[in-house]
C-alpha cells in the first residue's frame, strides 16, 4: 500500500473486495480495540473458563486437583454461610444504589443548572480519587467511638455515641455510607456529561411554556438521560456486588459476620481455607447472578436507544 488516503485505496481495489474481506476502516477500528481485547481475553475471558473448570474439582492449591463433578455446587446450596453472604451483599446493594444514584443525579443537575464552575466539579470528584484503603481507614478512625471526631460531634449534640463499624447493626450501613461518599462524585460527573448532550433548546422551550424546574426535570432531563442512567446503574450494581477492598480495610467481614459479603467469603475460602474448587463454584454463581441482573437492567432501561432520535 502506498497511498494514505483510504478512499483512494478502496478505489484501486477490484469490485466486491470490500464485501468479502475486512475494509481498511474496520481493520483500523479493530487495531484500536486490540490492546483492550488482549487484556479482556487474558485477564477476564480465560480466567472465567479456568474458574468454571476449577469449580468442578476439589483443589487445595498444594496438591493436584481432584475432579468431583457438581459436588461443590451441591455443597453451596446447603451452606448457610453462602446464603448469608448473598443476603448481606444484596442488602449492601440496596443501601448503596438508590442513594448513590439520587445524590449523583442531584449534584449533576446542580452543576448543570445552578453553578457551572470547574472548581466545583473538581471538588465533587475528589473523594473518588482516594483509594478505598485510604478512605476506609480515614472513616474507621473518624467514626471511632472513643477517639473519633464524628462521635465527638454527635456527643456534642447531646446524642449517645454510636459504634458505626463496631456494631453488627451499623457496620454494613457504615461501609455503604463510605462507599456512597467515595463514588457519588463519579456518578455525578457521568450524569453531568449526559446532561451536556441534551439540547439547550428543549429547556428554553420548556421555560417558555411555563414549566417548573421540577416538571422539566421529570419530563425532559430524566427521560433523555436514560442511556447514561443505564450505564451508571449497570456499572454501580456490578461494583456493589463485588465490594471487597472497603470491607477488607474497615471490618474484615465482622463484627460476627455482619459484613461478610460474597466476595469476602469467596476470598476467605480460596486463600485462607484453601478451598479453591468451592471458591470457584461460588464465583461462577456470582457471575451468573451479575449477568442476569445486567440483562434485566438493560432490557428495562432500553439502554441501547435514546429518545433524542
Amino acid at each position: 500500500m502506498t497511498s494514505d488516503d483510504p478512499k483512494e485505496a478502496v478505489h484501486t481495489l477490484p469490485r466486491g473486495w470490500r464485501g468479502r474481506t475486512l475494509s481498511r476502516e474496520a481493520l483500523t477500528g479493530f487495531l484500536f480495540i486490540l490492546p483492550a481485547l488482549i487484556g479482556f481475553v487474558l485477564f477476564y475471558l480465560i480466567p472465567v473458563f479456568r474458574a468454571v473448570e476449577i469449580s468442578f474439582t476439589d483443589w487445595n492449591l498444594l496438591r493436584p486437583p481432584k475432579g468431583v463433578g457438581l459436588e461443590n455446587y451441591g455443597r453451596l446450596i446447603a451452606d448457610e454461610n453462602f446464603w448469608h453472604s448473598l443476603r448481606v451483599t444484596g442488602l449492601y446493594v440496596l443501601y448503596n444504589i438508590p442513594i448513590q444514584t439520587a445524590l449523583g443525579l442531584f449534584l449533576a443537575v446542580l452543576m448543570d443548572r445552578v453553578v457551572r464552575a470547574l472548581w466545583l466539579r473538581a471538588v465533587i470528584i475528589l473523594p473518588y480519587l482516594l483509594s478505598s484503603i485510604v478512605a476506609g481507614m480515614i472513616f474507621v478512625w473518624l467514626t471511632n467511638p472513643q477517639l473519633g471526631y464524628i462521635n465527638a460531634f454527635i456527643q456534642g449534640l447531646g446524642v449517645e455515641r454510636q459504634p458505626f463499624f463496631g456494631s453488627p447493626d451499623q457496620a454494613l450501613a457504615s461501609v455503604a455510607a463510605v462507599n456512597i461518599w467515595k463514588h457519588m462524585g463519579l456518578t455525578a460527573l457521568l450524569f453531568y456529561a449526559g446532561l451536556q448532550s441534551i439540547p439547550r433548546s428543549l429547556y428554553e422551550a420548556a421555560s417558555i411554556d411555563g414549566s417548573s424546574e421540577w416538571h422539566t426535570f421529570w419530563h425532559i432531563t430524566l427521560p433523555l438521560l436514560r442511556p447514561v442512567m443505564a450505564f451508571v446503574l449497570v456499572t454501580s450494581v456490578i461494583g456493589s456486588f463485588q465490594v471487597y477492598d472497603m470491607i477488607a480495610v474497615t471490618t474484615g467481614g465482622g463484627p460476627v459476620d455482619a459484613t461478610r459479603v460474597i466476595v469476602w467469603y469467596i476470598s476467605e475460602n480460596a486463600f485462607n481455607f484453601l478451598r479453591m474448587g468451592y471458591a470457584s463454584a461460588m464465583s461462577v454463581v456470582l457471575f451468573l447472578i451479575l449477568i442476569a441482573f445486567t440483562l434485566v437492567q438493560m432490557r428495562l432501561l432500553r439502554a441501547n436507544q435514546s429518545d433524542l432520535g
Binding site: 487445595n60 492449591l61 498444594l62 496438591r63 476506609g136 481507614m137 474507621v140 478512625w141 471511632n144 467511638p145 472513643q146 477517639l147 455515641r161 459504634p163 463499624f165 463496631g166 456494631s167 453488627p168 457496620a171 480495610v249 474497615t250 471490618t251 474484615g252 465482622g254 463484627p255 460476627v256 459476620d257 476467605e268 486463600f271 485462607n272 481455607f273 484453601l274
Partner: protein, 437 residues
C-alpha cells in the same frame, strides 16, 4: 604490550564475572518489618562466612505474606526460605510443601539442645523436623504509670496480683480502681456511672480462637486446655473453665464499664492507640510489641507480669522458625542459611537489635542488654519464660484458618453481648470439631 594489557583486562573481567556467577542467591521472606534490619545484619555476616551465597531478604505484610507463599508454591515463585508460624506450618507439612530437615541436622551433627526447652519440639512431627527455633515470645501487661499513681496502686501490688473468675481477685480490683467516670468516681465506688467513663482500666480485642495475648493466659491459669497437645484433632472450646473466663472478660466491657466496650474498638489498624492516647490504663501485649510501645508511648509506662490465676501464672510460649520450600532449587544453600539463623552467631546479632527474644540464651542476654540500655525493664516477659510450668504452648493443629474464622465470630458475639459465653462456645466447639471429621 598493548596485547598483554588487553589480556589482563579480559582476565580481570572474566574473573569478576566468575565470582558473580558462582554466587548463589537464596531468597528469604519475613513478615515483620521491625525484624528486617536484624536479619539484614545476619545476612551480611552469613555472606562473610559463605562468600558464594547471597541472601535476598523481602518483607511482606502478614495477610499478603501467606497468600503469596501458598500461591507461590503452585506458581513456582515461593521463596527458598521463609519465616513460618505455628498456625500455618502444619498445613504446609501435611501437604508436603516444606523440607524435612532431619537428614541435614544428622549430617551436620547439630546440637539441638541449645534452644529454650520446648521450642525445638514445636517444629517437628512424627520424627520429622521442619524448622530450627529462632525466637520466642511471652505475654505481659503494659500499664500507664501516672494513672497507676493517681489511683493509689503501687508497683509492688501489680507484681503479685491474683485473679479468679468469681470476684476477679486483686487484678479485678486494680482494674476497677484504674477506671474513672466523669465525676471522678472509680469503678469500686457505688456512685460509679459505667455509662460515662472517661478513663478505662482495660483495653483489649477479644482474641478470637487463640487469644494469645487477650485471654489464653487467664483461661489456662483457670484450668482450660485447647486440645490434647500438638497435632490433636479435638478442641475443648466448650470447657466451662474457658466459658467463665471469657464471660468475666466480656462483662468488664459489657456491664461494668471497666474495659473499653468491644463495639467501641477500632475495627481496623489495632487497638493500641487507645492505650497510647491515654484512654485506658492497661492492656495485655506480646513481647514482640516491646519496641512498638518504646517508640509510640509519650508518657511513662511499664511492663507488669500476668496475674496469678487459680493454677498459677501462665503465659503462652510461642516461637518462630524458618521453613525451606520443597520446590527450592538451592536446598543445600537454603539449609546453610537456616542453620546460620538457628546458630548463636545470628541470634546474638538479632538479640542486640532488641526486637525479639532469640531462642538461644546468649541471644536473650543480648536482647536484655539492648533493652536495659534504653531503660526498659522487660523482666515480666523473661521471668515467666524461665519459670518451670509457667508457660504453655500454642495449640498446633491443622485447619487453623477455619478454626480462627469460626471462633472469631463466636467471640465477637459474646463480647457484643448477643449470647452468653457458655452457649456461644458450646456451639462453636461443635463446628470446630466437625472440621476434623
Amino acid at each position: 604490550m598493548q596485547q598483554l594489557a588487553q589480556k589482563v583486562g579480559m582476565l580481570a573481567i572474566s574473573g569478576l564475572l566468575g565470582t558473580a556467577l558462582a554466587q548463589t542467591e537464596v531468597s528469604y521472606w519475613l513478615w515483620d518489618a521491625n525484624q528486617k534490619p536484624a536479619y539484614e545484619a545476619c545476612a551480611a555476616e552469613f555472606n562473610k562466612q559463605n562468600p558464594n551465597i547471597r541472601v535476598k531478604i523481602e518483607q511482606k505484610g502478614w495477610d499478603d505474606y501467606w497468600t503469596s507463599i501458598t500461591t507461590g508454591f503452585v506458581a513456582g515463585t515461593a521463596p527458598d526460605v521463609f519465616t513460618s508460624h505455628l498456625a500455618k506450618y502444619p498445613e504446609f507439612a501435611l501437604n508436603n510443601q516444606i523440607v524435612d530437615l532431619t537428614p541435614y541436622i544428622k549430617r551436620d551433627n547439630l546440637d539441638t539442645k541449645i534452644y529454650y526447652p520446648g521450642l525445638y519440639d514445636l517444629w517437628g512431627k512424627d520424627g520429622k523436623q521442619y524448622g530450627l527455633p529462632k525466637d520466642w515470645d511471652t505475654v505481659a501487661i503494659v500499664y500507664n504509670k501516672k494513672m497507676l499513681r493517681e489511683a493509689g496502686v503501687t508497683e509492688a501490688q501489680i507484681k503479685n496480683w491474683t485473679w479468679n473468675p468469681k470476684d476477679g481477685g486483686t487484678f479485678g480490683q486494680i482494674l476497677a480502681r484504674l477506671t474513672k467516670d466523669k465525676n471522678g468516681n472509680n469503678a469500686l465506688s457505688p456512685r460509679f456511672d459505667p455509662k460515662n467513663v472517661v478513663q478505662y482500666g482495660w483495653v483489649s480485642p477479644n482474641g478470637g480462637g487463640y487469644g494469645q495475648t487477650e485471654w489464653s493466659w487467664l483461661a489456662v491459669a483457670n484450668g482450660f486446655k485447647f486440645n490434647d497437645g500438638p497435632w490433636s484433632r479435638k478442641y475443648y472450646y466448650d470447657s466451662p473453665k474457658l466459658a467463665e473466663t471469657i464471660q468475666w472478660l466480656a462483662d468488664l466491657g459489657l456491664k461494668r464499664g471497666i474495659a473499653v466496650p468491644f463495639k467501641d474498638l477500632p475495627t481496623s489498624g489495632g487497638v493500641e492507640p487507645l492505650f497510647t492516647s491515654g484512654k485506658a490504663a492497661m492492656m495485655p501485649q506480646g513481647s514482640w510489641m516491646i519496641t512498638y510501645f518504646r517508640d509510640n508511648t509519650k508518657f511513662e509506662y511499664g511492663w507488669a507480669p500476668l496475674p496469678i490465676g487459680p493454677l498459677g501464672r501462665k503465659s503462652m510460649f510461642n516461637g518462630l522458625a524458618d521453613n525451606i520450600w520443597v520446590g527450592s532449587k538451592k536446598k543445600e544453600e537454603a539449609w546453610r542459611w537456616v542453620r546460620f539463623m538457628g546458630s548463636p552467631a545470628c541470634q546474638n546479632i538479632v538479640g542486640s537489635f532488641g526486637v525479639v527474644f532469640p531462642a538461644i540464651k546468649s541471644g536473650v542476654d543480648a536482647a536484655l542488654k539492648a533493652h536495659a540500655s534504653k531503660g526498659i525493664d522487660v523482666s515480666a516477659f523473661t521471668t515467666v519464660a524461665n519459670t518451670p510450668g509457667a508457660t504453655f504452648l500454642f495449640p498446633i493443629a491443622d485447619k487453623a484458618s477455619e478454626v480462627s474464622s469460626i471462633m472469631q465470630a463466636a467471640m465477637d458475639s459474646i463480647f457484643l453481648g448477643k449470647v452468653t459465653a457458655v452457649d456461644a462456645l458450646r456451639e462453636a466447639n461443635a463446628k470446630v470439631n466437625a472440621l476434623f471429621r
